[in-house]
């Protein structure tokens, strides 16, 4: 398990538990008691820490390497998942994965960023940072879902669109704009969930949904705290302050009316109990789809557009 710096006391306690467990072969009741006592302490510590994570700490949790990613959600929640590749213009971009599948009995189109879980897969998925091909594939799949009346689920987890020469040459800006446009145009339900990092234009490209959900410790922002700090504070050191100022937590975004619901995470974050986080997300998506079922395509589209036309009419009270 990877520990974040603010989780040090927890890491120490869990280290002790581990040690005791090694001893437990040789010894008796006392150790079991001690382990139970320490475990209670860990839980208490976790509860206290995670109840009041700062925005910067949440940013770290959202980027946690052990946090479940797109592929984990899809393999647990979607049956018959059939990935569909390519933008039909230039390439297949593995930073964004999309495809058809069955979610709780219904055909769906699932599209999302994949960051990868080890060096090899991270490189293959370009750390979840998509190039124009990724957004053009997303657009293609959104429009296909529209044609067949299949609801779309998007899972957002990206530091942002890839900043590179090739990406710019092939129209990164246009590709993102068209993906946003496609989200806003389709006449089928579109549920978007921020499962980790919602980084800027690369995130909104997939997140203009009828319902936008966020996991409890995920973040969603116009710029990374580091980027904001280097511009406004002229020092990357100020990332903590920038995270604070940007109001990037699920809780703040809910207050601002930018997202519709916050999905609770297991104690200590999604990375501590991936299965529980995945089920919670599945339930929330299912409920959101149920709310939209029966609505006519034109209504779904009109409501989605009205919702985004209103964005910014209210600030923090």
């Amino acid at each position: 398990m990877n520990f974040l710096d603010f989780e040090k006391p927890i890491a120490e306690l869990e280290g002790k538990i581990e040690e005791l467990r090694h001893l437990s072969d040789s010894d008796e009741m006392n150790i079991a008691e001690e382990v139970a006592r320490l475990q209670a302490k860990v839980e208490k510590q976790l509860r206290a820490t995670y109840a009041k994570l700062t925005p910067w700490q949440k940013t770290q949790v959202a980027r946690h390497p052990d946090r479940p990613h797109f592929s984990n959600y899809v393999s647990a929640l979607v049956q018959d998942f059939t990935p569909l590749a390519g933008d039909r213009t230039f390439a297949e971009d593995r930073a964004i994965i999309g495809g058809l599948g069955r979610f709780r009995g219904h055909s769906v189109m699932v599209i999302g960023h994949e960051k990868g879980h080890d060096t090899e897969s991270r490189v293959r998925h370009n750390f979840g940072m998509a190039k124009p091909e990724g957004y053009r594939k997303a657009k293609r799949l959104l429009e296909m879902a529209d044609r067949f009346g299949i609801p779309v689920i998007t899972l957002v987890d990206t530091a942002g669109a890839y900043p590179g020469v090739e990406a710019e040459a092939r129209g990164q800006a246009e590709a993102i704009a068209r993906s946003i446009e496609a989200c806003l145009n389709i006449r089928v339900p579109l549920i978007s969930a921020i499962i980790g990092e919602g980084g800027s234009g690369g995130a909104i490209a997939l997140a203009a949904g009828n319902t936008v959900l966020m996991l409890e410790h995920s973040v969603y922002s116009v710029i990374s705290p580091e980027g904001c700090a280097s511009i406004l504070w002229r020092s990357g050191e100020a990332a903590k302050d920038a995270a604070e100022a940007l109001r990037l937590t699920a809780q703040d975004l809910h207050k601002l009316g930018v997202i519709d619901d916050v999905i609770p995470e297991p104690l200590g974050g999604a990375h501590r109990n991936a299965q529980q986080a995945i089920t919670a997300l599945g339930d929330a998506v299912e409920a959101a789809l149920k709310d939209l079922s029966g609505l006519e395509g034109g209504v779904l589209r009109a409501r989605r557009r009205e919702k985004f036309l209103e964005m910014g009419k209210r600030g923090l009270a």
Partner: protein, 306 residues
């Protein structure tokens, strides 16, 4: 102090004293280095007469240049929440706003105006780069929405002229949301069958480029404008190498198929009028097409088989 200032009569002193030259009488072209007299520069629409380099044109000058006789009516934009996040970096956002408002005499970074161009009624939403780098927050989003609504209401084409570094960080996620909001707005203009033209000026980057600014029916760029999504410095630090010559310039976008044309400033007005006339099937010089005469044949209905 010398003999001149000490002993010469004040009237004579006045004659020989070096006149105070306001610094901005002469401009140095940032491209070719030539010194240009300010009147010549203004007369040439702030384009260097030596090398053709296009300097940034103040937004009101641009509107004057585009509308017939330089005349247009601005519309008042609805009030939006000021400082919705109560944002503070080393300075309060509220104070930054006050400074920008005092400096420019404007409420925010966008002007929405309507008037005639080649006799045709058009709506223009133009960014003011001098106002916090033309950054897009809620008020700018509101400007695009208002311009789109006005265009639909007046049955007029919409021209948007971005000059913006991107989203306004100080409005956080709400500025990101303006990308989706402005996309909906311009979509409504297009669905009404009205032309939506984007005139990309220096610079058009970040969240502005990745939303309404890349969705025009016709995309026109001014020579040399920086247009792109990611900032050049960010890209450089990612790839750790020098960027290609002319990277993210208007001509580079033209070569890569991202804009329809790169048009020198002096030809912009004529080009825009021509494009709109053609899209709307109007005769040149703003004449309205006469209704087709239907002498013998009844109106053709494509759906009715003979």
């Amino acid at each position: 102090m010398n003999w001149l200032t000490n002993s010469v009569l004040p009237k004579i002193q006045k004659l020989v004293r070096p006149r105070e030259v306001p610094e901005n009488l002469w401009h140095k072209c940032s491209n070719c280095g030539h010194m240009i007299f300010h009147r010549d520069l203004d007369a040439n629409l702030r384009v260097c007469q030596h090398c053709g380099h296009h300097m940034r044109l103040p937004v009101k000058k641009r509107l004057e240049m585009l509308f017939d006789g330089g005349e247009y009516q601005r519309i008042e934009l609805p009030k939006t929440p000021a400082d919705p996040l109560r944002f503070r970096d080393q300075k309060r956002y509220g104070d930054r706003m006050k400074d920008a408002q005092a400096k420019t005499g404007e409420q925010d970074a966008i002007i929405v105006a309507h008037g005639r161009m080649g006799g045709l009624n058009v709506v223009i939403a133009a960014f003011n780069f001098e106002f916090m780098g033309g950054s897009m927050g809620i008020a700018v989003g509101e400007g695009i929405v208002a311009a789109a609504e006005l265009a639909v209401l007046q049955d007029a084409p919409l021209i948007v002229i971005p000059a913006s570094g991107g989203a306004r960080m100080q409005e956080g996620i709400l500025s990101l949301m303006q990308m989706a909001r402005t996309t909906v707005a311009v979509e409504k203009v297009k669905e009404k069958g009205l032309p939506y033209v984007v005139l990309l000026t220096d610079p058009t980057t970040g969240g502005v480029s990745a939303s309404f600014a890349m969705l025009g029916d016709i995309q026109i760029a001014e020579p040399g404008s920086v247009i792109g999504f990611a900032g050049a410095r960010v890209i450089e630090s990612t790839i750790r190498e020098k960027l290609p010559e002319g990277f993210q310039r208007a001509e580079y976008l033209l070569d890569h198929g991202m804009v329809d044309m790169v048009v020198p400033r002096k030809d912009l007005r004529a080009t825009l009028v021509r494009v709109l006339d053609l899209l709307l099937n109007r005769k040149p010089a703003g004449e309205v097409l006469p209704l087709p005469e239907k002498a013998d044949s009844p109106a053709r209905d494509e759906n009715v088989q003979p």
